[in-house]
Amino acid sequence: MAKAVSVRGLHKAFGARTVLDGIDLEVEPGEFVALLGRSGCGKSTLLRILAGLDREVRGAARVPGKVSIAFQQPRLLPWRKVWRNIALGLHRPDGRAVALRALQEVRLPGHADAWPLTLSGGEAQRVSLARALVREPDVLLLDEPFGALDALTRLAMHHLVEDLWTRHKPAVLLVTHDVDEALLLADRILVLDEGRIVATHHVDLPRPRRRASVVEQRTRVLADLGVEVEEAA
C-alpha cells in the first residue's frame, strides 16, 4: 500500500537559520505518529510543509491523500455558526447533516447554531476536530491541538482523539512537546532536535493506555530529549 506520508531529505531554512536539516519520514496509512520536541525544533514547520502551507523547501515531501488539520488555536471563523464552520469548504448539499453528525461524535450536540466566540476553549477545539474529521482525511495533522487547554480538558481530549482515530483510522501526525501525550496516543514517537529526527520509539502498549503503563518508556523518551529524571515507582 502507498505510504500516507513520505518525506525524503527535507531541508528548510529561514534565511541563514536551518530549521529542518534532512528529514526522512514515512507514515503508514492509519498509523498514529507523534512528533516530539522542544519549541523551535522544527516540528511545526514540518507539519506546515506537509499541509502545503510552505512550499519553499529542498527535498521531497509527498502526501498523496486528502489532508486535514487542527491547530493549537481552533481558528474557527467567528462570524459563521458552528455547523457552518464544519461544513464550509466541504461542497456537499447535506453539509448541515454532516456537521450535526460530526458534532455528535465530538460530544457537542446542541451547539450547531452557536457562535464560536461563545464556546469555551475545549469546546472550540472539539469543533476544530470535527471540522478536520468531516473531510474524511487520509492524513490528519494535529499541531499541538491541546497545548492551550487546561489539564482536565486535555485529558478528555486525549480520549476523544484516540476514539475518533480508532473509528476513522486516518494516519495522524501529532506535533506535541508533551511526552505523556505522545506515549498515550502514538504508535511511534519521533524525537526532533535542531531539525533532525534524533530518536524513534515504537510504543507497543495495548490501548487504551493508562498513565502508569507508560512510565517505563517515558524515562527513555525523556532521556532522548535531554531530560534526566528519576521515576518514582
Binding site: 502545503g52 491547530f71 464550509l88 471540522r131 473531510r135
Partner: protein, 269 residues
Amino acid sequence: MTSSTAEVAARPKSATTAPTRKLTLPLRWISPVALVLLWQLASSTGVLSPDKLASPLTVAETAGELIADGQLGEAFAVSITRVFFGFLIGGFTGVALGLVSGLSRWGETLLDPPVQMLRTLPHLGLIPLFILWFGIGEEPKLALVAAGVAFPLYLNLHAGIRQTDPGLVEAARVLGYSRFERVVHVVLPSAVPQTLVGLRIALGTAWLSLIVGEQVNADAGLGFLINNAREFLRTDVVVVGLVVYALLGLTTDALVRLLERKVLRWQKR
C-alpha cells in the same frame, strides 16, 4: 494589608454606583434644559436680540410654520436626495477601489499610493475646482458628498481586508476552501467591523459636505433655506435648518449602529 485597604476603598465606590447610574440619566438633562431656559430668558428680556439669535419659542413656532407650509419638507427632500446620490456614487467608488486594492496585489500597488496621497487633501477645499469642472448646479454638490464618502470607506475597507488573520486564511486553505470561498467567508467578513467604522465616518462627512456644498449657490434644499433666511435676518429659520441637519446626522448614525448590532451579532458582548 494592602488588599484590605483596596477592598475598603473599592467598596463604597461600587455601593454608590448602582443608585447614581439610575439617577444619572435624568440628572444629565439638567444643564441642557437650563441652558435653553437661560436662552429663552435672555431673548424675552431683550438681552439677546432676535437679529442675533431668535428665542427657542420663536424657533419652535417657525419650525411649525415651515413644516405646515411645506417649505421645510421640500428643502429636506432636496437635501436628502443630494446626500443619497452623492453617497451612492462615493460609496460605490470607495468600496470598488477598496475591494480591488484589498484583494489583489496589483490593485494595491497601483491604486493605493495615489489614493493615499489624495486623501491628505481636505476634500472641502476642492470646491473651487468642482465649481470650475461641474458648474454651480447639482453636480458639484454631489461630487463633494461623493468625495467625502469615498475616502473613509476606501481606507477602512482596505485596512479591514489587510487585517485579516492569516491563521484563518491558512486554515481555510488546508481545509479545501476555494479562493472564492476564502474571500467570501474569511476575508470579507473579517473586514466588516472596520468597514462599518468607515461607514459611520463616511456618513458624518457626507452631511458635512452637504452643508458646505449647499452654501454654493443653492436654489433649493436646507442650505438654500438657511442662506435665504440670512438675507432677511431670519435667525429663527437658520436655527431650524441647523436643527434639521443635526437630526439627520443623528438619525443616520443611529441607523449604522443598528446595522452594526445586526451584522456583528457574532461578536461576544
